[in-house]
Symmetry: C2
Subunit: 227 residues, 2 copies
DNA sequence: CCACAAATGGAAGAGGTTGTCCGTTTAGCG
DNA sequence: CGCTAAACGGACAACCTCTTCCATTTGTGG
Protein backbone atom coordinates (compact mmCIF):
# COMPACT_ATOMS: atom_id res chain seq x y z
CA UNK A 1 0.00 0.00 0.00
CA UNK A 2 2.13 2.89 -1.17
CA UNK A 3 -0.58 5.47 -0.44
CA UNK A 4 0.30 6.22 3.16
CA UNK A 5 0.99 9.84 4.10
CA UNK A 6 4.74 9.48 3.71
CA UNK A 7 6.20 11.79 6.34
CA UNK A 8 9.59 11.45 4.80
CA UNK A 9 11.03 14.78 3.74
CA UNK A 10 12.66 15.21 0.39
CA UNK A 11 14.55 18.46 0.35
CA UNK A 12 14.14 19.09 -3.36
CA UNK A 13 10.92 21.03 -3.68
CA UNK A 14 10.40 24.16 -1.65
CA UNK A 15 8.02 24.07 1.27
CA UNK A 16 8.82 20.70 2.78
CA UNK A 17 9.17 21.03 6.56
CA UNK A 18 12.77 20.77 7.70
CA UNK A 19 13.55 19.05 10.99
CA UNK A 20 14.84 21.40 13.61
CA UNK A 21 12.52 24.29 12.87
CA UNK A 22 10.40 25.78 15.58
CA UNK A 23 7.13 24.21 16.58
CA UNK A 24 5.03 27.21 15.56
CA UNK A 25 6.71 27.20 12.18
CA UNK A 26 5.82 23.57 11.62
CA UNK A 27 2.28 24.27 12.74
CA UNK A 28 1.88 27.21 10.40
CA UNK A 29 3.35 25.20 7.59
CA UNK A 30 0.69 22.57 8.08
CA UNK A 31 -2.06 25.16 8.42
CA UNK A 32 -0.98 26.79 5.19
CA UNK A 33 -0.95 23.53 3.29
CA UNK A 34 -4.39 22.63 4.56
CA UNK A 35 -5.83 26.05 3.77
CA UNK A 36 -4.29 25.92 0.31
CA UNK A 37 -5.68 22.47 -0.40
CA UNK A 38 -9.16 23.46 0.72
CA UNK A 39 -9.18 26.68 -1.23
CA UNK A 40 -7.74 25.12 -4.37
CA UNK A 41 -10.15 22.22 -4.25
CA UNK A 42 -13.08 24.58 -4.09
CA UNK A 43 -12.13 27.34 -6.46
CA UNK A 44 -9.15 26.15 -8.45
CA UNK A 45 -5.60 27.37 -8.18
CA UNK A 46 -6.30 30.97 -9.07
CA UNK A 47 -7.11 31.83 -5.49
CA UNK A 48 -5.00 34.78 -4.33
CA UNK A 49 -2.25 33.88 -1.90
CA UNK A 50 -3.45 36.50 0.54
CA UNK A 51 -6.73 34.61 0.89
CA UNK A 52 -4.88 31.45 1.75
CA UNK A 53 -2.74 33.22 4.29
CA UNK A 54 -5.80 34.74 5.92
CA UNK A 55 -7.61 31.43 6.06
CA UNK A 56 -4.57 29.79 7.55
CA UNK A 57 -4.50 32.49 10.20
CA UNK A 58 -1.05 33.79 9.29
CA UNK A 59 0.37 36.88 7.64
CA UNK A 60 1.51 37.13 4.07
CA UNK A 61 5.18 37.10 4.98
CA UNK A 62 4.81 33.80 6.76
CA UNK A 63 3.30 32.24 3.71
CA UNK A 64 6.16 33.44 1.54
CA UNK A 65 8.80 32.28 3.98
CA UNK A 66 7.41 28.76 3.84
CA UNK A 67 6.67 28.83 0.12
CA UNK A 68 8.91 31.33 -1.67
CA UNK A 69 6.68 31.58 -4.72
CA UNK A 70 3.08 31.06 -5.51
CA UNK A 71 4.02 28.09 -7.65
CA UNK A 72 5.86 26.31 -4.86
CA UNK A 73 2.76 26.47 -2.68
CA UNK A 74 0.67 24.97 -5.43
CA UNK A 75 3.23 22.26 -6.03
CA UNK A 76 3.43 21.45 -2.34
CA UNK A 77 -0.34 21.41 -1.97
CA UNK A 78 -0.73 18.84 -4.72
CA UNK A 79 2.30 16.66 -4.11
CA UNK A 80 0.17 14.23 -2.17
CA UNK A 81 -2.35 13.90 -4.98
CA UNK A 82 0.52 13.41 -7.37
CA UNK A 83 1.74 10.53 -5.27
CA UNK A 84 -1.75 9.05 -5.24
CA UNK A 85 -1.84 9.34 -8.99
CA UNK A 86 1.37 7.45 -9.50
CA UNK A 87 0.25 4.91 -6.92
CA UNK A 88 -2.98 4.34 -8.83
CA UNK A 89 -0.93 3.68 -11.91
CA UNK A 90 1.31 1.22 -10.13
CA UNK A 91 -1.69 -0.58 -8.82
CA UNK A 92 -3.20 -0.71 -12.29
CA UNK A 93 -0.01 -2.23 -13.61
CA UNK A 94 -0.19 -4.95 -11.00
CA UNK A 95 -3.73 -5.92 -12.00
CA UNK A 96 -3.99 -9.29 -13.71
CA UNK A 97 -6.49 -7.90 -16.16
CA UNK A 98 -4.89 -5.01 -18.06
CA UNK A 99 -8.24 -3.65 -19.22
CA UNK A 100 -9.61 -3.58 -15.71
CA UNK A 101 -6.41 -1.94 -14.52
CA UNK A 102 -6.64 0.71 -17.20
CA UNK A 103 -10.28 1.40 -16.40
CA UNK A 104 -9.72 1.75 -12.69
CA UNK A 105 -6.68 3.96 -13.15
CA UNK A 106 -8.57 6.28 -15.49
CA UNK A 107 -11.57 6.30 -13.19
CA UNK A 108 -9.41 7.18 -10.24
CA UNK A 109 -7.69 10.10 -11.95
CA UNK A 110 -10.95 11.38 -13.39
CA UNK A 111 -12.51 11.28 -9.97
CA UNK A 112 -9.58 13.13 -8.49
CA UNK A 113 -10.01 15.81 -11.10
CA UNK A 114 -13.72 16.03 -10.39
CA UNK A 115 -13.36 16.26 -6.65
CA UNK A 116 -10.59 18.80 -6.63
CA UNK A 117 -10.91 21.69 -8.97
CA UNK A 118 -7.29 22.64 -8.52
CA UNK A 119 -5.96 19.25 -9.46
CA UNK A 120 -6.29 19.69 -13.20
CA UNK A 121 -4.64 23.06 -13.10
CA UNK A 122 -1.77 21.74 -11.03
CA UNK A 123 -1.30 18.57 -13.02
CA UNK A 124 -1.94 19.76 -16.56
CA UNK A 125 -1.25 23.45 -16.15
CA UNK A 126 1.90 25.41 -16.55
CA UNK A 127 4.45 24.98 -13.83
CA UNK A 128 7.80 25.03 -15.56
CA UNK A 129 9.63 25.32 -12.27
CA UNK A 130 8.89 22.20 -10.31
CA UNK A 131 11.21 19.26 -11.04
CA UNK A 132 9.14 16.83 -8.96
CA UNK A 133 6.12 17.45 -11.10
CA UNK A 134 8.05 16.87 -14.30
CA UNK A 135 9.48 13.65 -13.01
CA UNK A 136 6.06 12.43 -11.91
CA UNK A 137 4.53 13.25 -15.25
CA UNK A 138 7.30 11.50 -17.13
CA UNK A 139 6.92 8.50 -14.89
CA UNK A 140 3.16 8.46 -15.39
CA UNK A 141 3.69 8.71 -19.13
CA UNK A 142 5.93 5.66 -19.15
CA UNK A 143 3.67 3.55 -16.95
CA UNK A 144 0.71 4.50 -19.01
CA UNK A 145 2.36 3.45 -22.24
CA UNK A 146 3.11 0.09 -20.67
CA UNK A 147 -0.45 -0.32 -19.43
CA UNK A 148 -1.87 0.58 -22.81
CA UNK A 149 0.39 -1.85 -24.62
CA UNK A 150 -0.60 -4.68 -22.33
CA UNK A 151 -4.30 -3.97 -22.80
CA UNK A 152 -3.77 -4.03 -26.53
CA UNK A 153 -1.89 -7.29 -26.36
CA UNK A 154 -4.78 -9.00 -24.63
CA UNK A 155 -7.06 -7.76 -27.38
CA UNK A 156 -9.26 -5.77 -25.02
CA UNK A 157 -8.16 -2.34 -26.11
CA UNK A 158 -8.60 -1.18 -29.68
CA UNK A 159 -5.45 -1.39 -31.74
CA UNK A 160 -5.45 2.23 -32.83
CA UNK A 161 -5.60 3.48 -29.26
CA UNK A 162 -2.71 5.78 -28.55
CA UNK A 163 -1.20 6.58 -25.16
CA UNK A 164 -1.85 10.23 -25.93
CA UNK A 165 -5.53 9.37 -25.84
CA UNK A 166 -5.21 9.22 -22.08
CA UNK A 167 -3.99 12.80 -22.11
CA UNK A 168 -6.90 13.55 -24.38
CA UNK A 169 -9.28 12.15 -21.80
CA UNK A 170 -7.62 14.05 -18.97
CA UNK A 171 -7.86 17.31 -20.87
CA UNK A 172 -11.46 16.63 -21.80
CA UNK A 173 -12.28 15.79 -18.25
CA UNK A 174 -10.62 18.94 -17.00
CA UNK A 175 -12.95 20.90 -19.22
CA UNK A 176 -16.00 19.06 -17.94
CA UNK A 177 -14.95 19.35 -14.35
CA UNK A 178 -14.37 23.08 -14.49
CA UNK A 179 -18.10 23.59 -14.05
CA UNK A 180 -20.14 23.63 -10.89
CA UNK A 181 -18.80 21.19 -8.31
CA UNK A 182 -22.24 19.64 -7.81
CA UNK A 183 -22.45 18.29 -11.33
CA UNK A 184 -18.80 17.63 -12.07
CA UNK A 185 -18.65 14.17 -10.57
CA UNK A 186 -21.66 12.89 -12.47
CA UNK A 187 -20.55 14.57 -15.67
CA UNK A 188 -17.07 13.17 -15.33
CA UNK A 189 -18.38 9.66 -14.80
CA UNK A 190 -20.52 9.89 -17.87
CA UNK A 191 -17.71 11.22 -20.00
CA UNK A 192 -15.48 8.39 -18.90
CA UNK A 193 -18.18 5.86 -19.71
CA UNK A 194 -18.56 7.27 -23.20
CA UNK A 195 -14.82 7.21 -23.68
CA UNK A 196 -14.20 3.71 -22.39
CA UNK A 197 -16.96 2.30 -24.48
CA UNK A 198 -15.26 3.53 -27.61
CA UNK A 199 -11.91 2.32 -26.43
CA UNK A 200 -12.98 -1.27 -26.23
CA UNK A 201 -11.82 -3.31 -29.15
CA UNK A 202 -14.76 -3.86 -31.49
CA UNK A 203 -14.70 -5.54 -34.85
CA UNK A 204 -16.92 -3.30 -36.88
CA UNK A 205 -15.71 -0.02 -35.40
CA UNK A 206 -14.58 2.67 -37.83
CA UNK A 207 -11.02 3.93 -37.68
CA UNK A 208 -10.33 6.98 -35.59
CA UNK A 209 -8.75 10.12 -36.98
CA UNK A 210 -5.02 10.25 -36.18
CA UNK A 211 -4.04 11.14 -32.62
CA UNK A 212 -2.64 14.54 -31.78
CA UNK A 213 0.83 14.47 -30.22
CA UNK A 214 -0.32 15.29 -26.71
CA UNK A 215 2.36 14.45 -24.21
CA UNK A 216 1.61 15.08 -20.58
CA UNK A 217 4.92 16.71 -19.89
CA UNK A 218 4.80 18.84 -23.00
CA UNK A 219 1.61 20.70 -22.33
CA UNK A 220 2.32 24.39 -22.14
CA UNK A 221 5.91 23.71 -23.07
CA UNK A 222 6.72 26.43 -25.58
CA UNK A 223 4.71 29.59 -25.22
CA UNK A 224 2.77 30.92 -28.17
CA UNK A 225 1.99 34.43 -27.11
CA UNK A 226 2.53 37.01 -29.79
CA UNK A 227 1.95 40.33 -28.04
CA UNK B 1 -29.36 30.66 -45.88
CA UNK B 2 -29.47 32.57 -42.62
CA UNK B 3 -25.68 32.65 -42.45
CA UNK B 4 -25.14 35.95 -44.24
CA UNK B 5 -23.23 38.61 -42.33
CA UNK B 6 -26.40 40.37 -41.22
CA UNK B 7 -25.50 44.07 -41.25
CA UNK B 8 -28.70 44.83 -39.46
CA UNK B 9 -28.14 46.69 -36.19
CA UNK B 10 -29.85 45.53 -33.07
CA UNK B 11 -29.52 48.22 -30.45
CA UNK B 12 -29.56 45.82 -27.52
CA UNK B 13 -25.95 44.87 -27.03
CA UNK B 14 -23.32 47.54 -26.65
CA UNK B 15 -20.87 48.13 -29.45
CA UNK B 16 -23.09 47.83 -32.47
CA UNK B 17 -22.29 50.62 -34.94
CA UNK B 18 -24.99 53.25 -35.02
CA UNK B 19 -25.84 54.93 -38.31
CA UNK B 20 -25.00 58.59 -38.40
CA UNK B 21 -21.68 58.33 -36.63
CA UNK B 22 -18.55 59.71 -38.16
CA UNK B 23 -16.60 57.73 -40.70
CA UNK B 24 -13.48 57.45 -38.55
CA UNK B 25 -15.58 56.17 -35.68
CA UNK B 26 -17.08 53.46 -37.86
CA UNK B 27 -13.61 52.58 -39.09
CA UNK B 28 -12.15 52.34 -35.62
CA UNK B 29 -15.10 50.29 -34.50
CA UNK B 30 -14.37 47.77 -37.22
CA UNK B 31 -10.65 47.81 -36.51
CA UNK B 32 -11.31 47.11 -32.85
CA UNK B 33 -13.59 44.21 -33.57
CA UNK B 34 -11.10 42.70 -35.96
CA UNK B 35 -8.19 43.13 -33.57
CA UNK B 36 -10.24 41.64 -30.77
CA UNK B 37 -11.25 38.64 -32.85
CA UNK B 38 -7.67 37.97 -33.91
CA UNK B 39 -6.28 38.33 -30.43
CA UNK B 40 -9.00 36.24 -28.82
CA UNK B 41 -8.69 33.51 -31.40
CA UNK B 42 -4.98 33.22 -30.73
CA UNK B 43 -4.72 33.60 -27.00
CA UNK B 44 -8.21 33.32 -25.57
CA UNK B 45 -10.30 36.07 -24.09
CA UNK B 46 -7.93 36.94 -21.29
CA UNK B 47 -6.00 39.32 -23.51
CA UNK B 48 -5.76 42.76 -21.88
CA UNK B 49 -7.91 45.41 -23.51
CA UNK B 50 -4.93 47.69 -23.90
CA UNK B 51 -3.31 45.14 -26.19
CA UNK B 52 -6.37 45.10 -28.37
CA UNK B 53 -6.48 48.88 -28.53
CA UNK B 54 -2.82 49.01 -29.51
CA UNK B 55 -3.24 46.39 -32.20
CA UNK B 56 -6.25 48.23 -33.54
CA UNK B 57 -4.18 51.39 -33.71
CA UNK B 58 -6.38 53.38 -31.34
CA UNK B 59 -6.11 54.66 -27.79
CA UNK B 60 -7.64 53.06 -24.77
CA UNK B 61 -10.35 55.68 -24.46
CA UNK B 62 -11.54 54.97 -27.97
CA UNK B 63 -11.92 51.31 -27.16
CA UNK B 64 -13.95 52.09 -24.08
CA UNK B 65 -16.12 54.57 -25.91
CA UNK B 66 -17.09 51.90 -28.42
CA UNK B 67 -17.28 49.07 -25.90
CA UNK B 68 -18.01 50.41 -22.41
CA UNK B 69 -16.81 47.28 -20.68
CA UNK B 70 -14.45 44.48 -21.38
CA UNK B 71 -17.38 42.09 -21.52
CA UNK B 72 -19.19 44.04 -24.18
CA UNK B 73 -16.17 43.84 -26.46
CA UNK B 74 -15.99 40.10 -26.00
CA UNK B 75 -19.70 39.73 -26.66
CA UNK B 76 -19.48 41.85 -29.79
CA UNK B 77 -16.43 40.00 -31.04
CA UNK B 78 -18.17 36.66 -30.85
CA UNK B 79 -21.64 37.59 -31.95
CA UNK B 80 -20.84 36.46 -35.48
CA UNK B 81 -19.66 33.05 -34.33
CA UNK B 82 -22.77 32.79 -32.24
CA UNK B 83 -24.86 33.38 -35.33
CA UNK B 84 -22.86 30.75 -37.19
CA UNK B 85 -23.50 28.34 -34.39
CA UNK B 86 -27.22 28.78 -34.47
CA UNK B 87 -27.12 28.59 -38.27
CA UNK B 88 -25.29 25.27 -38.09
CA UNK B 89 -28.02 24.01 -35.85
CA UNK B 90 -30.75 25.17 -38.20
CA UNK B 91 -29.01 23.47 -41.05
CA UNK B 92 -28.69 20.28 -39.07
CA UNK B 93 -32.40 20.37 -38.35
CA UNK B 94 -33.12 20.59 -42.06
CA UNK B 95 -31.05 17.52 -42.85
CA UNK B 96 -33.13 14.52 -43.95
CA UNK B 97 -30.91 12.24 -41.91
CA UNK B 98 -31.06 13.31 -38.26
CA UNK B 99 -27.90 11.43 -37.35
CA UNK B 100 -25.94 13.05 -40.14
CA UNK B 101 -27.34 16.40 -39.09
CA UNK B 102 -26.31 15.88 -35.49
CA UNK B 103 -22.83 14.77 -36.48
CA UNK B 104 -22.21 17.69 -38.75
CA UNK B 105 -23.53 20.18 -36.23
CA UNK B 106 -21.31 18.79 -33.50
CA UNK B 107 -18.34 18.68 -35.84
CA UNK B 108 -18.90 22.27 -36.81
CA UNK B 109 -19.07 23.55 -33.26
CA UNK B 110 -16.10 21.49 -32.18
CA UNK B 111 -14.11 22.84 -35.08
CA UNK B 112 -15.08 26.38 -34.18
CA UNK B 113 -13.88 25.77 -30.66
CA UNK B 114 -10.62 24.33 -31.92
CA UNK B 115 -9.89 27.12 -34.36
CA UNK B 116 -10.74 29.96 -32.02
CA UNK B 117 -9.41 29.70 -28.52
CA UNK B 118 -11.67 32.47 -27.33
CA UNK B 119 -14.84 30.85 -28.56
CA UNK B 120 -15.21 28.42 -25.69
CA UNK B 121 -14.62 31.12 -23.13
CA UNK B 122 -17.14 33.39 -24.76
CA UNK B 123 -19.75 30.73 -25.33
CA UNK B 124 -19.42 28.62 -22.19
CA UNK B 125 -17.85 31.17 -19.88
CA UNK B 126 -19.37 33.61 -17.50
CA UNK B 127 -20.98 36.62 -19.08
CA UNK B 128 -24.03 37.30 -16.98
CA UNK B 129 -24.61 40.62 -18.68
CA UNK B 130 -25.28 39.90 -22.31
CA UNK B 131 -28.93 39.17 -23.15
CA UNK B 132 -28.13 38.20 -26.75
CA UNK B 133 -25.87 35.45 -25.58
CA UNK B 134 -28.48 34.08 -23.22
CA UNK B 135 -31.10 34.05 -25.91
CA UNK B 136 -28.80 32.32 -28.36
CA UNK B 137 -27.89 29.68 -25.84
CA UNK B 138 -31.51 29.03 -24.96
CA UNK B 139 -32.34 28.81 -28.65
CA UNK B 140 -29.47 26.39 -29.23
CA UNK B 141 -30.65 24.32 -26.30
CA UNK B 142 -34.12 23.98 -27.77
CA UNK B 143 -32.95 23.13 -31.28
CA UNK B 144 -30.54 20.61 -29.90
CA UNK B 145 -33.22 18.84 -27.92
CA UNK B 146 -35.28 18.58 -31.08
CA UNK B 147 -32.36 17.25 -33.10
CA UNK B 148 -31.54 14.69 -30.46
CA UNK B 149 -35.10 13.50 -30.23
CA UNK B 150 -35.33 13.01 -33.96
CA UNK B 151 -32.11 11.03 -34.07
CA UNK B 152 -33.43 8.83 -31.30
CA UNK B 153 -36.69 8.30 -33.16
CA UNK B 154 -34.89 6.99 -36.22
CA UNK B 155 -33.03 4.57 -33.97
CA UNK B 156 -29.62 5.94 -34.87
CA UNK B 157 -28.88 7.55 -31.55
CA UNK B 158 -28.76 5.53 -28.35
CA UNK B 159 -31.87 5.81 -26.27
CA UNK B 160 -30.15 6.95 -23.11
CA UNK B 161 -28.48 9.85 -24.85
CA UNK B 162 -29.38 13.09 -23.15
CA UNK B 163 -29.35 16.58 -24.67
CA UNK B 164 -27.00 17.57 -21.87
CA UNK B 165 -24.49 15.18 -23.38
CA UNK B 166 -23.95 17.76 -26.08
CA UNK B 167 -22.97 20.24 -23.40
CA UNK B 168 -20.76 17.54 -21.98
CA UNK B 169 -19.02 17.22 -25.33
CA UNK B 170 -18.62 20.97 -25.66
CA UNK B 171 -17.09 21.25 -22.23
CA UNK B 172 -14.81 18.31 -22.87
CA UNK B 173 -13.77 19.78 -26.17
CA UNK B 174 -13.07 23.12 -24.55
CA UNK B 175 -10.66 21.37 -22.24
CA UNK B 176 -8.93 19.63 -25.10
CA UNK B 177 -8.73 22.73 -27.21
CA UNK B 178 -7.18 24.86 -24.50
CA UNK B 179 -3.82 23.36 -25.37
CA UNK B 180 -1.39 24.34 -28.08
CA UNK B 181 -3.19 25.54 -31.22
CA UNK B 182 -1.18 23.19 -33.42
CA UNK B 183 -2.60 20.06 -31.87
CA UNK B 184 -6.05 21.24 -30.90
CA UNK B 185 -7.72 20.54 -34.21
CA UNK B 186 -6.46 16.98 -34.44
CA UNK B 187 -7.18 16.34 -30.78
CA UNK B 188 -10.66 17.75 -31.11
CA UNK B 189 -11.41 15.58 -34.13
CA UNK B 190 -10.30 12.51 -32.31
CA UNK B 191 -12.33 13.31 -29.24
CA UNK B 192 -15.41 13.82 -31.34
CA UNK B 193 -14.83 10.51 -33.11
CA UNK B 194 -14.58 8.72 -29.79
CA UNK B 195 -17.71 10.42 -28.59
CA UNK B 196 -19.82 9.81 -31.68
CA UNK B 197 -18.89 6.19 -31.79
CA UNK B 198 -20.32 5.69 -28.33
CA UNK B 199 -23.41 7.68 -29.16
CA UNK B 200 -24.47 5.40 -31.96
CA UNK B 201 -27.21 3.05 -30.95
CA UNK B 202 -25.73 -0.40 -30.38
CA UNK B 203 -27.50 -3.43 -29.07
CA UNK B 204 -24.98 -4.84 -26.65
CA UNK B 205 -23.80 -1.52 -25.28
CA UNK B 206 -23.83 -1.13 -21.50
CA UNK B 207 -25.92 1.56 -19.91
CA UNK B 208 -24.30 4.88 -19.21
CA UNK B 209 -24.19 6.45 -15.76
CA UNK B 210 -26.92 9.07 -15.37
CA UNK B 211 -26.36 12.42 -17.07
CA UNK B 212 -25.41 15.48 -15.07
CA UNK B 213 -27.86 18.35 -15.38
CA UNK B 214 -25.65 20.49 -17.59
CA UNK B 215 -27.65 23.19 -19.23
CA UNK B 216 -25.84 25.50 -21.59
CA UNK B 217 -27.44 28.60 -20.20
CA UNK B 218 -26.89 27.59 -16.61
CA UNK B 219 -23.15 27.24 -16.63
CA UNK B 220 -21.61 29.62 -14.15
CA UNK B 221 -25.07 30.65 -13.06
CA UNK B 222 -24.81 30.87 -9.28
CA UNK B 223 -21.37 31.67 -7.98
CA UNK B 224 -19.75 29.42 -5.44
CA UNK B 225 -16.97 31.55 -4.13
CA UNK B 226 -16.62 31.46 -0.39
CA UNK B 227 -13.93 34.04 0.39
C1' DC C 1 13.95 32.76 34.00
C1' DC C 2 16.57 34.95 30.32
C1' DA C 3 18.63 35.99 26.17
C1' DC C 4 18.74 35.42 21.42
C1' DA C 5 17.71 33.80 17.11
C1' DA C 6 13.77 32.15 14.71
C1' DA C 7 9.49 33.40 13.26
C1' DT C 8 5.86 36.55 12.59
C1' DG C 9 2.48 40.28 10.82
C1' DG C 10 1.28 44.35 8.72
C1' DA C 11 2.70 47.82 5.62
C1' DA C 12 4.51 49.00 1.51
C1' DG C 13 6.76 48.30 -3.20
C1' DA C 14 6.45 46.51 -7.89
C1' DG C 15 3.78 45.19 -11.76
C1' DG C 16 -0.27 44.75 -14.35
C1' DT C 17 -5.30 45.58 -15.88
C1' DT C 18 -9.68 48.04 -16.05
C1' DG C 19 -11.90 52.10 -16.78
C1' DT C 20 -11.97 57.65 -16.77
C1' DC C 21 -10.62 62.63 -17.64
C1' DC C 22 -9.40 66.32 -20.35
C1' DG C 23 -6.89 68.92 -23.65
C1' DT C 24 -6.30 68.27 -28.65
C1' DT C 25 -7.39 66.74 -33.30
C1' DT C 26 -10.34 66.00 -37.15
C1' DA C 27 -14.47 64.94 -39.99
C1' DG C 28 -18.35 67.00 -42.00
C1' DC C 29 -21.19 70.72 -43.26
C1' DG C 30 -22.38 75.33 -44.78
C1' DC D 1 -12.33 77.76 -46.10
C1' DG D 2 -13.61 77.79 -41.39
C1' DC D 3 -16.48 76.44 -37.58
C1' DT D 4 -18.30 73.08 -34.36
C1' DA D 5 -19.23 69.01 -32.25
C1' DA D 6 -17.85 64.38 -32.51
C1' DA D 7 -14.05 61.60 -31.79
C1' DC D 8 -9.52 60.80 -30.24
C1' DG D 9 -5.21 59.64 -27.42
C1' DG D 10 -2.27 59.56 -23.67
C1' DA D 11 -1.95 60.23 -18.90
C1' DC D 12 -4.02 58.97 -14.70
C1' DA D 13 -6.80 57.04 -10.91
C1' DA D 14 -8.49 52.80 -8.76
C1' DC D 15 -7.85 48.16 -7.89
C1' DC D 16 -5.81 43.66 -7.47
C1' DT D 17 -2.12 40.32 -6.80
C1' DC D 18 2.63 38.88 -5.83
C1' DT D 19 6.45 39.64 -3.13
C1' DT D 20 9.68 42.04 0.20
C1' DC D 21 11.05 44.73 4.40
C1' DC D 22 11.43 45.64 9.13
C1' DA D 23 10.04 46.36 13.71
C1' DT D 24 8.03 43.27 17.01
C1' DT D 25 6.79 38.95 19.13
C1' DT D 26 7.70 34.30 20.62
C1' DG D 27 9.65 29.65 21.13
C1' DT D 28 13.49 27.34 23.16
C1' DG D 29 18.09 25.95 24.94
C1' DG D 30 20.95 27.00 28.73
Amino acid sequence: MPVQPSRNQSSSAAGTPVRGQRADARHNHAQLLQAAREAYALNGTDVPSSTIARRAGVGAATLYRHFPTRGSLIAAAFSEQLTDCVAALDEALRDDDPWRGLCSALAKVCRMQAEDRGFSAAFLGESPDDPDLHRARARAEAGLAQLVQRAKNTGQLRKDFDPSDVTLLLLANSGVVRQSPETSLAASRRLLAYFLQSCRATDGAPFLPPPAPLRLDDLYGPSHRTD
